[in-house]
């Protein structure tokens, strides 16, 4: 028999823009603008259709500085719908939407509870306090470096205890180390279920005793957040056993289509391959909108075509030229040409001339990163100074970036030098 049924969501990032997109068709931009709201709306509808007892949202409802009034109103609108349906909602805030962030004066509806800066526990069922309780804490400000998990203590074993927290467990390198803690810390709290937020890729860190779950964000917002996104429906039986079911609620799906040009001889063969990959991608999207990035790599004769001025732009136009926009849409946001020509680098390296010297110099630089300091200094002209620096400082190339750039730079040099030679 079901003791408790709730939906665990996190990282809504409502009204946050999609990142990594350079140019967008107005119609696509409009659809993307609504995507996080639509995904949130799907969560609310799922709560109602599944008749859950509560919705738990583990932080980052908004996207920090970009928290818009519209986002707040839409969020509250969802809570009101839940309240009317008799579904409770529990919210904590994370690094993107700390308590000190500006917000509109809106009243939480009945049955909805927002945790404050101090940990506290709230019964899910007011008339049955011993059945289940949610413990939670919100970030008072963006930067929370202390281990908040240690503040969590379950009141007793009789109630099913849920910890609601926005935190980085076991130092996930892909995310900021806010409210850092370890899995062991979580185990020690006596919680039966940890409803976590912060990591955008869903993962079940522990199946049981306690169950520790990141549901991921319900809507991918950039190329690095591909595949299905959603929430967990958590079903707890009388014995306290947890059954998890993932449900996708995203409306726009991200994909990266990689094509190796090595085997492709003609422009037409490239077009055909792209069409084929797109068709496959559509098959996997369950009728959702798709935004994809086309990555062309490999070494082959088509590299010369791809280097031609305007070719990639034309190709992008061709890929996106599918007539008036219809839902679900399929949109290529970028073509990333990381191909190489048929020039045999090793052969070039063996040359005793300028070209050979160039290639060998690159090799030397790759293995002696210290020598890159001068280059790094040159790049500061853009990344570190003036107006451009204000925007780009945080994106200044790392050492790995520099090595990667070096490869591209070498290819650019060879293309110029050898092109002329062959001309």
């Amino acid at each position: 028999m079901t003791r408790l049924k709730f939906i665990h969501a996190a990282d809504l990032h409502l009204d946050s823009p999609f990142t990594g997109l350079r140019t967008l068709e107005p119609a696509i931009a409009s659809a993307l603008k609504e995507a996080t709201f639509d995904a949130y709306s799907n969560i609310i509808e799922l709560c109602i259709s599944e008749r859950v007892d509560a919705l738990l949202i583990a932080g980052d409802i908004y996207d920090g500085d970009d928290r818009s009034l519209r986002a707040q109103l839409k969020f509250f609108d969802g809570l009101i719908r839940l309240s009317r349906a008799g579904i409770r909602s529990f919210i904590c805030h994370g690094n993107h939407d700390p308590l000190n962030g500006w917000e509109a004066r809106l009243n939480f509806p009945e049955g909805s509870y927002r945790f404050g800066a101090a940990m506290e526990g709230i019964s899910v069922f007011k008339d049955e306090p011993g059945r289940a309780a949610v413990y939670g804490i919100s970030y008072p400000q963006r930067e929370v470096r202390e281990n908040l998990a240690r503040q969590f203590v379950a009141a007793g074993p009789e109630a099913f205890s849920i910890g609601l927290l926005h935190a980085n467990v076991d130092n996930n390198a892909d995310h900021e180390a806010y409210a850092p803690c370890t899995l062991r810390d979580l185990e020690d709290t006596g919680m039966d279920y940890w409803a976590l937020g912060h990591v955008h890729t869903r993962q079940v860190l522990r199946e049981a005793n306690p169950t520790v779950v990141y549901p991921g964000n319900p809507q991918g917002r950039h190329p690095n957040e591909p595949d299905a996104r959603g929430v967990y429906i958590v079903d707890v039986d009388d014995a306290g056993r947890v059954r998890l079911e993932f449900r996708a609620v995203d409306v726009v799906r991200w994909a990266t289509l990689e094509i190796d040009i090595s085997e492709l001889e003609t422009d037409q063969s490239l077009f055909d391959k792209i069409d084929h990959e797109i068709a496959q991608c559509q098959d996997n999207a369950d009728g959702r909108d798709i935004i994809f990035r086309l990555v062309l790599n490999g070494r082959g004769p088509l590299h010369d075509s791809l280097r031609r001025p305007g070719f990639v732009d034309d190709l992008l136009e061709r890929v996106n030229d599918t007539g008036p926009l219809e839902r679900p849409f399929l949109w290529c946001e970028r073509i990333q040409a990381s191909t190489a020509s048929l020039i045999d680098r090793e052969q070039q390296r063996q040359r005793s001339d300028f070209v050979g010297d160039l290639v060998r110099l690159c090799d030397e630089l790759q293995v002696t990163p210290d020598s890159l300091s001068e280059i790094r200094e040159n790049l500061q002209e853009l990344y570190g100074r003036g107006n451009a620096g204000r925007y780009l400082r945080q994106y200044a190339p790392t050492e790995d970036d520099l090595l990667e750039l070096m490869v591209s730079a070498e290819a650019a040099c060879l293309a110029e030098l050898l092109d002329e030679d062959s001309a």
């Binding site: 009204d15 999609f18 931009a29 970009d66 853009l382 003036g386 040099c413």
Partner: protein, 1049 residues
């Protein structure tokens, strides 16, 4: 690589020109001005590198003819020989490379032969003229420059590459520039940032607006309550004011009602009904009078009498005259025309009769037989006569033909008879011949039997002789050998003689002679055999001897049977020997000849008989033909007689033939048609005349009766009388018709009169009843009472309406009573004042409310805008897109910046490590040429400049040198490049045109020595027009090859 020789097909002044072979390491080509030295230099460049694509003015067109181009014979450093041939064409002109023996070589090998040198490098460094030596810019050619300062083998495009990368980089970002992609993006980002800052204040605005909305709602509530009270008061005032006039009116109505009497059941609409009744009575009375007047008038018409009424009794006759009237006119008009037509027809008929015969008239024409029987008879006679005529002609022709054939047959018979008489009858007839053939077959059979038995006998005798050793037994050998051969010969002789005798005298002589000789031979053989015959037989062979004897006997018997059969053939049975095979063949031949002769004789005889029979048969045919022809002639004559007899019977001329008779008959029939027309016309005229007479008989009695005269011009007067009669009759008919109508009207109007009189009485009765209902018999009194009653009704209705209207304003029951009470107590002025006061208060309330509502709307709109505000979302999307673009551009810029750095670092490294080679070579040459005055050249790494250092230590830039020295510096630089180039790849030939002319003699000599030194590694071709230059080179290097070229060549 060296040039061995060159062949110019057509180029500048040369055509089909061979230059070379170049055998020396240094070749001086000497020629006066315009001999074509520059053309040769250009020729070498163009064959190796192609015709300049853009500068067609430097193509040296083939002025002396030939195809524009030619070939070079080359030998590479490894000693391989090639022929490079190029003619002007697209893309520099097509080039072909072959080995010395003509095998094609891939075009790519030319690049290898040229050591990868570009056209610019070769033209400026290896093959140059004085002009190019003097032109400093020739060394600033991108390629040469690169060669000098980067010694840039493999990096020819370095300057362009650097420039391209810098250009791209600057397009993306340049610190000092504002027109670059990054600057554009930042400007857009700033703009988006401002928009977002604005959006951030939205939450505070939202709170303020919500508070204000709440306050406005509260104030509006208060105003609404106040307005409700005022509106209630206003309503009451309004209702009292609305009801005031009605109230005053009601009081007045009730006063008036109290003054009026009450009539119960007074007729509704009494006055109207009374007046209507009186109008009805008046109208009915008027109708009765009018009807009576009309009845009187119609009755008079119905009794009217009129003239000529008696004509009505002759209605049928008049109608007959009316129907025949038109026909009478037609007849009168038609008669003269028909008479004229009859005359014409009769004239035509007369002519036709005269054409047939003078004795022909209408009667004969009518009685002439033209029946089908007659026509058939004429046709039959015509066919019969024609048939018989033809038959006579045919029979006569047949008779003539038969006679001719008889003559031919008589000639044939004579010829046959003559042949028969010339042929003898053969001796043997058919039976005899068949008998002899049978005998011959028997003889042949018996001869074969005899020959078989004789052979058997001979075999047995041979066996006996071999067993005894003797040749024969007595009697036997003498017979066996002695008589056999002579007998055969004798038989043959006899047969020969016999056959010869059968065949005739001539053959008998020859056959007899041969037979006699054969008989003599047979006799001799026989006797000789008998003389030599042995005697005695051995007893041991007795059995065999018996068998031999039996065989001998059988042979003898067979011989006898042969002879008997041969006797029939004419061989004598007594002959000494039986006939042999030859004799039998001869006999068969003789029989064949007899058979042939017999057949020929029989044929001739048969032909004679046939000819005789044919003649006799034909003689009978001629007789028959004669009889038939005569019979046909008689038939023809008989038919003609019969025809003439028939014509006579009809009274016609006997000379008429059936054909003319047919024509005659045709004319008779045509004339009969004309006769028919004449008679038809006569009948028609008679009919017209009859019609006119009949019409007259119809009119005349009536005309006389009614006094209408008929004049002398009968027909016209008759027509007038008819018309008068018809007219008078029609007038009488019209009068009668009118009288009948009047009589019918009398009846109808009589009925109408009765009806209207009844209606008049009824209307009078209605008026009387109405007055009774009003309680009076006086119409005027009735009218007065009706007026009072109507006035009361109207006041009562008005009072009811007023009460309803007042109740609508107040409401029912107590409210209405209160309302009436208020009205009774109120005055108009009081009501006016109260209403004005309340209205003012309401207006104030409405204005306050309106202001609040406007504000509420405005705040609501602002809130709605804030709630549905999407601009910040759009701005964030835009900001992200711009940031992504910025990062992308930054990354591209970084790539280009690093690429530039890589190129610069590599170039630095390259210059540091490799430049000395070029500079050091050049420095050595320059020091040699200047006799060590300038002993150092220097090019700082990374800088494309050159400095020369004097022995004294003074440094100079090239521009500071004298012209000659500067030329020597550039020459030395070229030497340096040539040497450095050759150290790492193919050593190309050096071709110079008058490069020493500006050098002083000493430096010219030293420069020539430098050329000679260079010629140790590279082939050197020197073009000059100066004999002293030739001497200079030959003086320094004895193996210098001098080639003279002349303008005429």
């Amino acid at each position: 690589m060296k040039i061995e020789d060159l062949y110019i097909d057509g180029f500048g002044p040369f055509a089909a020109k061979q230059v070379g072979p170049f055998t020396g390491s240094i070749i001086v080509i000497h020629g006066v001005n315009e001999a074509g030295k520059s053309s040769l230099l250009a020729f070498i460049r163009m064959v190796l590198f192609g015709f300049p694509r853009q500068k067609s003015s430097e193509h040296y067109p083939p002025l002396a003819g030939g195809q524009h181009g030619g070939r070079l014979s080359l030998v590479d450093d490894a000693g391989n020989r090639y022929i490079v041939e190029r003619f002007r064409g697209t893309r520099g002109g097509p080039v072909s490379i072959t080995t010395a023996d003509g095998a094609p070589v891939d075009e790519g090998n030319l690049g290898r032969l040229l050591g990868g040198a570009s056209s610019g490098l070769f033209s400026n460094v290896f093959a140059f003229s004085l002009d190019e030596l003097q032109a400093e810019k020739s060394l600033q050619d991108a390629d040469v420059n690169s060669q000098i300062y980067s010694a840039g083998i493999g990096a020819a495009s370095l300057p362009q590459a650097l420039r391209a990368i810098r250009d791209k980089k600057n397009d993306i970002f340049r610190r000092q520039g504002s027109k670059n992609a990054v600057a554009d993006l930042i400007a857009k980002l700033e703009e988006v940032g401002s928009g977002l800052d604005e959006a951030e204040g939205n939450a505070e605005k939202y709170g303020g607006h919500v508070s204000r909305l709440s306050e406005i709602s509260r104030q509006l509530g208060s105003l609404d309550a106040q307005r409700a009270g005022l509106q209630q008061r206003s309503g009451e005032n309004s209702r009292l004011r609305q009801g005031w006039d009605d109230w005053v009116f009601l009081v007045d109505v009730e006063d008036n009602l109290a003054k009026l009497p009450r009539f119960d059941e007074f007729p509704e609409n009494g006055i109207v009904r009374l007046e209507h009744g009186e109008d009805q009575v008046e109208a009915a009375k008027r109708e009765v009078e009018e009807t009576k007047e009309r009845f009187k008038t119609v009755e008079e018409s119905a009794q009217a009498i009129f003239a000529d009424e008696a004509l009505l009794n002759d209605r049928e006759a008049i109608e007959h005259i009316r129907r025949g009237r038109n026909r009478f006119d037609d007849s009168v008009r038609d008669l003269p025309e028909r008479r004229t037509e009859l005359q014409s027809l009769e004239g035509s008929l007369g002519e036709r009769l005269r054409d047939i015969g003078s004795d022909w008239d209408e009667e004969r024409l009518e009685s002439f037989d033209t029946s089908i029987v007659t026509r058939g008879y004429i046709e039959q006679v015509r066919q019969n006569l024609a048939g018989k005529d033809v038959e006579v002609q045919q029979r006569t022709g047949q008779l003539e033909q038969a006679k001719g054939e008889l003559l031919e047959l008589e000639d044939g018979e004579k010829q046959a008879r003559k042949n028969a008489e010339a042929t003898e009858e053969p001796a043997l007839d058919s039976a005899a011949l068949e008998q002899k053939r049978s005998a011959l077959r028997t003889t042949r059979t018996r001869f074969e039997e005899f020959a078989r038995l004789r052979l058997r006998h001979s075999d047995l005798r041979d066996q006996l002789e071999s067993s005894t050793g003797q040749i024969a037994v007595d009697g036997l050998s003498g017979w066996s050998q002695g008589p056999a051969l002579p007998i055969l010969i004798a038989v043959a002789a006899i047969v020969l003689i016999t056959v010869s005798a059968i065949l005739g005298m001539q053959t008998l002589v020859i056959g007899g002679t041969a037979g006699a000789m054969l008989l003599i031979v047979a006799t001799y053989i026989y006797f000789k055999a008998h003389r030599e015959a042995p005697v005695g037989a051995s007893p041991g062979n007795q059995a065999l001897l018996n068998v031999v004897r039996n065989a001998e006997t059988e042979e003898s018997e067979a011989d006898q049977r042969l002879r008997e059969a041969a006797a029939v053939l004419g061989f004598g049975s007594h002959a000494d020997v039986a006939p042999d095979a030859v004799a039998l063949d001869d006999a068969e031949s003789a029989l064949g000849a007899s058979d042939t002769a017999l057949r020929a004789w029989e044929i001739i005889q048969r032909r004679l008989a046939d000819a005789l029979e044919a003649r006799q048969h034909h003689e009978r045919r001629v007789e028959n033909a004669t009889q038939v022809q005569e019979s046909a002639q008689v038939g023809l004559e008989s038919a003609r007689m019969e025809w003439q007899t028939w014509l006579s019977g009809l009274g016609l001329a006997e000379t008429l033939t059936p054909e003319t008779m047919v024509e005659l008959r045709g004319r008779v029939e045509t004339s009969r048609v004309a006769l028919g027309e004449v008679r038809a016309m006569r009948r028609r005229i008679e009919a017209i005349e009859h019609d006119i007479d009949e019409y007259r008989e119809l009119i005349e009695p009536l005309a006389n009766t009614f006094g209408i005269s008929i004049g002398t011009e009968e027909n016209r007067e008759l027509a007038s009388a008819a018309d008068a009669l018809i007219e008078r009759y029609d007038t009488v008919r019209e009068s009668e018709s009118q009288r009948d109508i009047a009589r019918h009207e009398v009846e109808i109007i009589g009925q109408q009169l009765r009806l209207r009189e009844e209606r008049f009485k009824e209307s009078q009765e209605v008026v009387v009843q109405l007055l009774d209902a009003g309680g009076t018999d006086d119409p005027e009194e009735f009218r007065r009472r009706a007026g009072q009653n109507a006035n009361r009704r109207e006041l009562e209705q008005k009072r009811a309406e007023l009460l309803v209207r007042l109740q609508q304003l107040s409401g029912p029951g107590d409210q209405f009573d209160g309302f009436k009470q208020s009205l009774a107590q109120a005055s108009p002025q009081e009501l006016e004042d109260s209403s004005r006061n309340v209205a003012e208060q309401i207006e104030e309330n409405a204005e306050s409310r309106k202001a609040l509502l406007i504000e509420q709307g405005e705040v609501g709109t602002l809130l709605s805008q804030l709630t549905s505000e999407e601009e910040s979302s759009a701005l964030r999307v835009r900001k992200n897109a711009l940031m992504e673009e910025l990062r992308e551009q930054a990354r591209e810029w970084s790539t280009l910046t690093i690429a530039e750095e890589l190129l610069l670092r590599t170039r630095m490294k390259f210059q540091e490590e490799r430049q000395p080679a070029v500079i050091q070579h050049a420095q050595k040459f320059f020091a040699t040429i200047t006799d060590q005055r300038y002993d150092r050249l220097y090019s700082p790494p990374g800088e494309q400049t050159l400095t020369v250092t004097e022995r004294t230590g003074a440094r100079k830039q090239p521009s500071e040198l004298s012209r000659g020295t500067r030329e020597q510096l550039y020459l030395a630089l070229r030497f340096g490049l040539i040497r450095e180039f050759g150290e790492r790849t193919e050593r190309l030939p050096v071709v110079v045109d008058e490069v020493l002319v500006n050098f002083d003699p000493d430096r010219a000599r030293r420069a020539a020595a430098a050329f000679v030194e260079l010629s140790q590694t590279n082939q050197v071709l020197v073009f000059t027009c100066h004999p002293e230059t030739v001497d200079l080179f030959t003086g320094i290097a004895a193996d210098t090859q001098v080639i003279e070229i002349k303008p005429s060549e």
